[in-house]
Amino acid sequence: MTGDTHYDLEVLAELAEGLLDVATAARVREHLAICDPCGESLAELAAVREVLAAMPVPAMPMGVALRIDKALAAEAETRREGGLKLDEAPDWDRIMADSPWETPAPLPEMPVEPPAVERPEEVVPLGIVADDGSIVPARRTRRTSRRRSWAMPVAASVAAAVVIGGAGLTANMLMASGSGTGSAPPVALPQPTHSPAPSRSHEIRPGSAQADYPVAKSDYNYSSSVLDGPLATYVGATGPGTGSSATADAAVTRCVAKISARVGKKLGVKAPKPIGVDQGFYEGNEATVMAFWKDRFRNAVYVYVVDDNCTNVRPPAVSRWQ
């Protein structure tokens, strides 16, 4: 091949990898000797390797390492006790994948008592700077009670009971009654086949006098993929076995109002009430997760994750509720 015809990058890359047969390779080399553009292309290919090799290899961030240690500690716990124990919010999607809702009590009996050992690497609660500049310790409601153990049999049988009873309730309606908006459409949204809603029957109570929307304090460590949804079992729920919801302190209430105004502007309505507010963690740091309806019928919610200063710690996103 000579003149203005050139070999394409793929052929040149294959030459460099020694993938061409002897005759073809000889022909391409011959061409390269006299063709500057192809020589240039070959250099570009070599540069790709160098650019890739030069990419810095960052160490695993401490937060991720801790998260993994925690997950493995939970795994070790399971192994020690020889049973399935879920101390973190479980992946209901996966767990329930094989459990048709029609089958009552599809899961084996499991230990319900909380783990014997408190986790040593519990995050130390940080102080919050109050309005007057003094530092108040971050409120830890229910800190004295042990960390919530997500007891599956309870949730599973509850979910089964709803189906058996034929109540036909949807999480949406329950959420709506909790948020007190009264504007819930009485239409059940199409339910996904494996709808994970362990807390379906737990009506969400308003957190306190000043918060007329559900506020939870799950201490759950949210990850970005969890926040992609479905969220109904997390943000909308205080979780099975917790019974009551937390109260929102003034800072959270103010922040909800602020975010709510922002969402309202986006939707062109007056500040909407959140569907759920949960005080927990995001990637290991204390954070408050808020969900607002974007479009009830499309099952779309806005998700905001903010820190103590009401600053976004994760880009606001649209997620699925169920």
Partner: protein, 214 residues
């Protein structure tokens, strides 16, 4: 597994009193509660790098590495001695990443408002030159088919031999070579404008220098 220049073999022998990864894994299977943590401690940075490069997103990478380590913890007894523990771990991590990418690619495309909201509400990160290059490379990698990306991450970015990459991905070496070649051919036009800047980057990257000088 032939580990690249900046990797643990030396450190491994120095740190563990003759505890190889295989020993540790055996002890883990036998019920030693600390053995697996040691394996994680030894390899987590490498696994993180592989996952981050393959997925191009720290949140996704964190989830993938966590899934992979938990999975390795559970199925340790399915490890067969003929492969190196590192190869086995890499395989689990890479597969966790590929699973995630496949699942992601069938997800509906994110709401355009999402992007708009993200741009408005997130502070713009401070762009240093290195970060810029790094982000451009990540973005370019995302344009490649997953198999080509995985091969390039292992061979060109992590510096593994073609043979090691073939073992991790469980394909013949020729397949690795051809995936790398095709991937590089696709990246070359996208990254060609980075060539001059890469000269700068190379100076600041010890790993790049090491790999370049053998």
């Amino acid at each position: 597994m032939n580990l690249p220049p900046d990797s643990p073999p030396a450190a491994q022998q120095a740190a563990g009193s003759a505890s190889t990864d295989a020993d540790l894994l055996t002890r883990h299977i036998g019920g030693d509660p600390h053995a697996f943590s040691e394996i994680v401690r030894r390899h987590r940075d490498r696994m993180w790098a592989v996952a981050l490069r393959t997925l191009g997103d720290p949140d996704e990478a964190a989830d993938a590495v966590q899934d992979a380590f938990v999975s390795a913890y559970r199925k340790a007894d399915s490890f067969r001695g003929e492969a190196a523990v590192t190869t086995w771990l890499h395989r689990i991590v890479v597969n966790a990443c590929l699973d995630r990418m496949r699942r992601k690619s069938i997800r509906p495309v994110a709401d355009d408002e999402l992007v708009e909201a993200a741009e408005r509400d997130t502070p713009i990160p401070d762009h240093t030159g290195d970060r810029d290059v790094s982000m451009e490379v990540s973005a370019a990698l995302k344009l490649l088919p997953t198999d080509q990306r995985a091969a390039l991450v292992l061979v060109d970015m992590m510096g593994y031999s073609v043979e090691d990459a073939a073992q991790v991905l469980e394909v013949p070496t020729g397949t690795i070579k051809s995936r790398c070649a095709r991937g590089r051919a696709k990246l070359a036009p996208i990254l060609s404008h980075l060539r001059n800047r890469s000269d700068l980057t190379r100076v600041s990257s010890a790993k790049g220098a090491e790999l370049r000088d053998g």
